[in-house]
């Protein structure tokens, strides 16, 4: 029987944990959460479910189903907080501990799972798998009657084994998964359970012991999470997330307040400044510290860094080159997933280029998703009625796109000159030329097409 004060303390700790995780994913790690969503394509079709009917496939399906909600940072953070809280609640229930002083220890498996999830390659299937297993064990523990309990345990374990058996890419985006990704959450759950069952209860000053345990778990937890956080990558991913949702003012504000830490982030900052007509007046923000590569970046093979390269060329009006880098980003996803974000951009580049049948293929796939359906259906309508120019960006890019065919040149000055030659009203390219000219000698400035 839980005493009323300890019941309140437990509830308060749980609420605090939920809020902490929610804030972590909303304010500190939303870029990583967004990355989970954008490099997958969960389809609401029977075929997609069938594709995952293999040992270890359904956990991928479930993880992707959950991760699609990360499209909205608030919903995503709420779901992840709920999952981790669920793991904690199950841990406590499984232990059947009457020692309420030790309640803070029940957060350890959730905190360990969260710490492991700071690695951007860990997939959402991991916390979902942890929740499934702890829920199943908690359910089995609650069953009365030995025979029935064992029968249920066998059935549930076989079922969960089929659902969640680790296979390549089921919990980790890269081909080689570090053993710690699975071991840390599982062993932490095991040792926590042993601790909750067998640690002696403190009869002297339980409230102080409880408070000390809470503080120790919180500090150790935060230390383990902070040590795993990919801070520089998170900075980039936040810019990436904002660029994807065309939050140009937020990008500029973030750059002014927090600085621009890497070249690919600088690419997004320069796009935002150019779109807002402020690039020429703000060369010190990203152009000066990060150089020519922050304007027209060179893709050096990192799988998701093809996206900022693609975005720069897209807004400049080099739609075919944007399409190429988007396709590269899509094909380079290490776990061979498909990407809703990339399909969306590929649909747009094909619409702008007038390749409607190809665009239709991507749009029809996106129309089977939850968060892209409305956009895809509107885009399909535009195609049906050949009403492309109602979309301001598509219309703009069609007007600035060059009609001359030439082979892509890696010489940046040539690229910018060709854009202005194609259309003098390309206001983004005009600003890029000013920015580019500030960095290169007079002789290399893009005054004419040199090829």
């Amino acid at each position: 029987m839980t005493s009323r004060p300890s019941h309140y303390i437990q509830a308060a700790l749980s609420v605090l944990f939920f809020i902490a995780v929610f804030c972590f994913y909303t304010f500190a790690y939303s870029g990583h959460m967004a990355m989970q969503e954008q490099f997958q394509l969960w389809l609401c079709t029977s075929d997609y479910l069938q594709e995952h009917l293999y040992a270890g496939g359904l956990i991928v399906y479930m993880g992707e189903w959950v991760a699609q909600f990360f499209y909205s940072p608030v919903i995503g953070a709420t779901i992840l907080a709920a999952i981790l809280l669920g793991i904690q609640a199950n841990t406590w229930q499984i232990s059947r501990s009457k020692n309420h002083v030790l309640y803070p220890l029940s957060f350890i498996p959730s905190i360990c799972t969260l710490a492991v999830m700071t690695d951007g390659n860990v997939l959402t299937s991991l916390p979902v798998g942890m929740l499934l297993w702890t829920s199943a064990i908690a359910l089995i523990c609650s069953i009365r009657g030995k025979g029935f309990k064992y029968a249920c345990a066998i059935v549930i374990f076989i079922l969960l084994g089929y659902i969640s058996t680790p296979s390549q890419y089921s919990y980790y985006r890269q081909a080689e998964m570090p053993a710690s990704v699975m071991l840390i959450p599982i062993l932490s759950a095991l040792f926590t359970d042993i601790a909750l069952r067998f640690l002696p209860s403190s009869k002297k000053s339980p409230a102080i012991t409880n408070a000390i345990l809470t503080i120790v778990v919180a500090i150790a937890g935060w230390a383990s999470i902070a040590s795993g956080m990919e801070t520089d990558e998170e900075h980039f991913l936040r810019y990436d997330q904002m660029a994807r949702h065309e939050r140009w003012d937020d990008i500029i504000n973030k750059a002014r307040n927090e600085g621009v830490h890497d070249t690919y982030s600088a690419v997004y900052v320069n796009i935002a400044l150019a779109i807002k007509g402020q690039l020429a007046d703000n060369l010190s923000l990203a152009v000066a510290p990060h150089g020519v590569n922050s304007l027209l970046p060179e893709y050096r093979g990192e799988w998701h860094k093809a996206l900022p390269v693609a975005e720069a060329f897209y807004y400049l009006g080099m739609v075919n080159t944007a399409q190429r880098y988007t396709f590269n980003a899509h094909e380079a996803i290490p776990n061979m997933n498909k990407s809703a974000r990339c399909f969306k951009r590929l649909a747009e580049t094909n619409i702008i280029n007038g390749h409607y049948e190809v665009a239709r293929k991507y749009l029809q796939l996106l129309s089977h998703t939850l968060f892209y359906r409305t956009w895809a259906e509107k885009a399909l309508e535009c195609i049906e009625h050949r009403n492309i120019d109602v979309h301001p960006m598509w219309h703009y890019l069609r007007t600035v796109q060059t009609d001359d065919d030439y082979l892509f040149s890696s010489k940046r000055g040539v690229q910018l000159a060709s854009l202005i030659k194609a259309n003098k009203d390309n206001y983004i390219a005009s600003q890029y030329i000013v920015a580019y000219s500030s960095l290169v000698p007079t002789t290399d400035r893009p005054t004419s097409n040199k090829e």
């Binding site: 075929d47 390549q168 081909a175 080689e176 093809a306 080099m318 739609v319 075919n320 080159t321 399409q323 190429r324 396709f327 590269n328 899509h330 094909e331 380079a332 996803i333 061979m336 498909k338 702008i352 280029n353 007038g354 390749h355 049948e357 190809v358 239709r360 293929k361 029809q364 796939l365 399909l380 049906e384 796109q401 060059t402 009609d403 001359d404 065919d405 030439y406 082979l407 892509f408 060709s418």
Partner: protein, 487 residues
Amino acid sequence: MHRIHTITTYIVLLFMLLACSHHVENAEQTDTLPPIYPDYIGVTIPCNIAPLNFGILDTDSTDRADHMQVTLKGSTGEPIIVEGEYADFPIDRWQQLLRANAGDSIMVSVVAEVGGKPIAYRPFHIHISKDTIDYGVTYRRIAPGYEVYSKMGIYERSLNTFEEKAIVENSLITGMCVNCHTVCRTNPAHQSLHIRGEHGGTMLITPSEGAEYLHTKTDTTLSQFVYPYWHPTGKYIAYSTNKTKQYFHEGRDKRIEVADVASDILIYSPGTHTIITSPLLQGDEAFETFPAFSADGRTLYFCRADARSVPEQYKDVKYDICSIAFDPATAQFGDHIDTLIHASAEGKNAVFPRPSYDGRYLMYTLSDYGTFPIWHKEADLRMVDLLTNEDITIDILNSDDTESFHNWSSTSRWVVLSSRRDDGLYTRLYFSHIDEKGRATKPFMLPQSNPARFYRESIYSYNVPDFITSPVIVPSKKEMKEGLGAN
């Protein structure tokens, strides 16, 4: 009480059955042909092909029929009537009907509800050839991308069922690429397969040597072995060696240009592990590529273009189809080159020579320039009669979009061709019958169980198709990894 319960159950079941069945009634008769996808209207098919399931699409290719009823009727045999969202023919009854009507045709009647309106379309015919088609085809399935590739592999597909299985996928070794899987005259007892990447090599399978793994770049060759073609005896295999580069278009209608900056041709003898070369096929002044042996194995066809500086003159690289004699007994090349298709003289470009196995015809791809016609919308198939050197008209195989790689069936009565006519980007496979006079029939798309859904949602292209007369057998994944030194 029990009887009342039973009767109630039957009534409920009856209502459920009635609710499930949906007949298209009171259809409006129209003289137009049904807008079916894939377009199988008037095609000629082998009598052992998998069911040509199809759906109805409206003119914008988006709305499927709510419901359709399709009747197949031959002059003999049991008619087939199917109903549903698309025509899904039972495979056993389909093949019975085809066998019963081989050499004749079947009539296809379609009644469909599109947008709630029932329409009875004008019936059409599907012609059934007595010429059977081979067991299956192999192909590479890959996204039509640029520099990076995700999931890809070499697959085999049975042609009288819908069964597909992987021969080798790039998940075998992280970061690897597989290409140019080739068998000898459709017989998979001889195979050549390139695996590129850190642990790359060429896997060669012959009945006498088994599987061997070769690292084929030598001091005297330009590159690893690239485009292969088996000698009819299986004792030799011709390869090109190519230094290839990719370039990218910025104009909206083209994407990629693939060009050789140098290329040669050689022959490899698996039995003696030796390379046979000729100075006529190794010069710097010309690019030689895409070798193919004649049916009797005494001539090697290949493509040859005057060397140009690439990329500056990439549009001036125009290949002719040439030939050189080859004596399989002595493994000696002839002393001169003949030109069979002088495409460059007309400002055109001829690649992918594929002689029929009966020695009568040679099919090739004609485009404006370059070595990679798959990215050229103007690319079409052409055919020449090797007995008379006359062009044979095969316009029926071509479309406004790309037609590219192709291969002959073991009987030389069927060809498989890759085309982008479906949507302009994703390459699909089509089959056509070529009779002994060289007359081609309207190509039909590789059948799928639910083709509208399959092809509309598939984001992979089908590359380098080839017929096989039996299932492909390759070493286990473990053996392959060991052979490539990837363990």
